[in-house]
């Protein structure tokens, strides 16, 4: 599959020796990772392994202490979050973070922010540019709501949606920024098997749109089912990487997980 950005072989994302230290604590310690366009890759590891920290450094929440993140060949480590998002990385959160008192539709419309341009003048004077852009924003947002199966809930306040719907709304909002890479932080947390099933299917459809997916996931069944590759972190270090089945047989992984959750 060929993309506008990089030619065949050039990875979408190259992470090199990425570290994040907090005082003496090495939350991330020299992590390498390559992602190619269209992949679904899972990051697993015991609690406190540095998975969320990794995502936070990737999206500019933490600056990172050392190492490089090349996205589409451009260095993005240390950029402010909104600049990272603009370059095509979007994410969701472990604890859902929606704009609670905005409607579902508005939440997704906010996601269009970095792809639209209206400032103060156009809306104040109600110029044609205002109407034209608002229409496009709304159409795109509705399209995405439909994509995640929430079209009929557009007018509901985000905080009033059921838990599973909130997770999907967060994904729609992230997709609205037109990412090339979407990062999902435990998307199935707290979901029942039926909801999980729908979410796995949604992740596949996201990939089919040409978006690369990187996710943190605890449910092994989900990881096994959708991942092209699995990366295992433990104490901030990458201890294994490979096809799902290979990884589960890796002795270091078994050791890290021994006595811990393994569905």
């Amino acid at each position: 599959m060929k993309t506008a950005g990089g030619g065949k072989g050039a990875p979408l994302l190259e992470v090199r020796q990425l570290s994040q230290h907090f005082g003496g604590l090495k939350a991330l310690d020299g992590v390498d990772l390559d992602l190619s366009q269209g992949e679904i890759v899972s990051v697993i590891g015991p609690n406190g392994a540095g998975k969320t920290t990794f995502f936070n450094v990737m999206t500019g929440v933490y600056p990172g202490t050392e190492g490089a993140i090349l996205f589409n060949g451009e260095a993005v480590r240390g950029l402010p979050s909104h600049e990272v998002i603009r370059r095509g990385i979007a994410r969701t959160f472990q604890n859902i973070r929606l704009f609670s008192n905005m409607t579902a539709l508005e939440n997704v419309m906010v996601g269009r922010h970095c792809r639209t341009r209206n400032g103060l003048l156009a809306p104040l004077l109600r110029l044609p540019a205002y109407y034209e852009e608002e229409r496009r924003i709304e159409a795109a947002a509705k399209d995405l709501l439909g994509f995640v199966g929430l079209l009929s809930f557009g007018n509901h306040l985000a905080k009033n949606l059921p838990y599973g719907d909130q997770r999907r709304l967060e994904i729609a909002r992230a997709l609205a920024t037109e990412p090339k890479l979407i990062i999902l932080d435990e998307p199935t947390a707290g979901m029942n098997p039926a909801e999980c099933e729908r979410l796995v299917e949604l992740i596949r459809r996201i990939r089919d749109r040409g978006v690369t997916v990187l996710l943190i996931e605890h449910q092994m069944r989900v990881v096994m089912g959708i991942s092209d590759r699995v990366v295992v972190l433990d104490y901030g270090v990458k201890i294994a990487e490979g096809k799902p089945l290979e990884v589960t047989k890796n002795p270091r992984v078994i050791e890290a997980y021994l006595g811990k959750e393994c569905d």
Binding site: T52, N56, V61, F93, N95
Partner: protein, 299 residues
């Protein structure tokens, strides 16, 4: 001259510190600015005045009278603070963030006007609980009032330190201040601890009210505002929620204010400008105050 200013600064600072503790204790536990704290302080000073008017016998001049006045004012102010919490803040514990603040502004207006309407509209002279005599220490004139002020304030702070570090309820208070929800899950009755925090904070404010009256000689219905604002500034300066920070901030602010008034031409006009400018400057360098911990947001 410098020594003299330092003594004046320490006196003012000790009062600011006591008030700042009230702000910081409440903030530490509920993350709200108790705007009415300045009125609790004012009411505390009026409690001492009322006792003096109606039962002068129990407030003889000297240490005994001072201690009785302090205890009664602290009790009055502490209870008032608890009542305020119960009726004006507790119902809003799960409301939007700014609601308790607005409620506390309302309480502040009510208390100030209640004293204005039903107690006194003008300055009232405060009882001379301690005879004012001047000492000279190394060329600096120190009054007995200043010494009493500092000694009482430091005594109270030490008492607070002991209470918080070494008693069981004190530890529960610290636990709540750390994480109210978890403390609740660990079996601590958080509503009771919150009430206790308001009691302690209010009591310290009441004591500050007495020391204020003693030091300035007169009290008025609106006396709380300026020291309240300054003390809150001090609490933020030190790192709000941090007890040692409040004391440190109070002394820094008190000394700075006195020094500014003494050494800068027309300094007394500019002292408040300087105090607030320092606050802004400090927060620019250290957004969480001098001793405050950086709270990294969890994502």
């Amino acid at each position: 001259m410098f020594l003299q200013q330092l003594v004046n600064g320490l006196t003012l600072g000790s009062i600011y510190s006591l008030i700042a503790l009230g702000y910081t204790l409440v903030y530490g536990i509920l993350v709200m600015i108790n705007f009415a704290h300045s009125e609790v302080l004012m009411v505390g000073s009026f409690v001492a005045l009322a006792v003096f008017r109606f039962a002068p016998a129990i407030l003889p001049q000297g240490p005994v009278g001072l201690i009785v006045a302090l205890v009664l004012s602290m009790a009055g102010a502490g209870v008032l603070n608890v009542v305020i919490e119960r009726f004006a803040y507790r119902p809003l514990r799960h409301a939007q963030k700014l609601a308790p603040l607005i409620s506390s502004i309302g309480v502040s207006i009510v208390l100030q006007n209640a004293v204005f309407l039903w107690v006194s509209t003008q300055s009232e002279s405060f009882p001379e609980l301690i005879a004012a005599t001047q000492f000279s220490i190394g060329g600096a004139g120190v009054s007995s009032l200043q010494l009493v002020c500092m000694a009482s304030a430091i005594g109270l702070m030490m008492g607070l330190h002991f209470f918080i570090e070494h008693t069981k309820v004190g530890k529960a208070m610290r636990a709540c201040s750390d994480d109210l929800e978890t403390a609740g899950l660990m079996g601590i009755d958080s509503s009771r601890i919150i009430a206790l925090t308001f009691l302690v904070g209010g009591a310290l404010g009441g004591a500050a009210g007495v020391l204020y009256g003693l030091n300035y000689g007169s009290i008025k219905y609106n006396l709380g505002f300026l020291p309240g604002v300054k003390a809150f500034t001090a609490a933020v300066l030190g790192g709000i929620g941090n007890i040692r920070g409040a004391v440190l901030g109070g002394f820094i602010l008190g000394i700075m204010e006195v020094m500014a008034a003494g050494y800068i031409p027309r300094g007394s006009d500019w002292k408040d400008v300087i105090a607030f400018s320092v606050l802004i400057f400090v927060l620019l360098l250290r957004p969480s105050g001098i001793l405050g911990e950086k709270i990294a947001e969890k994502v």
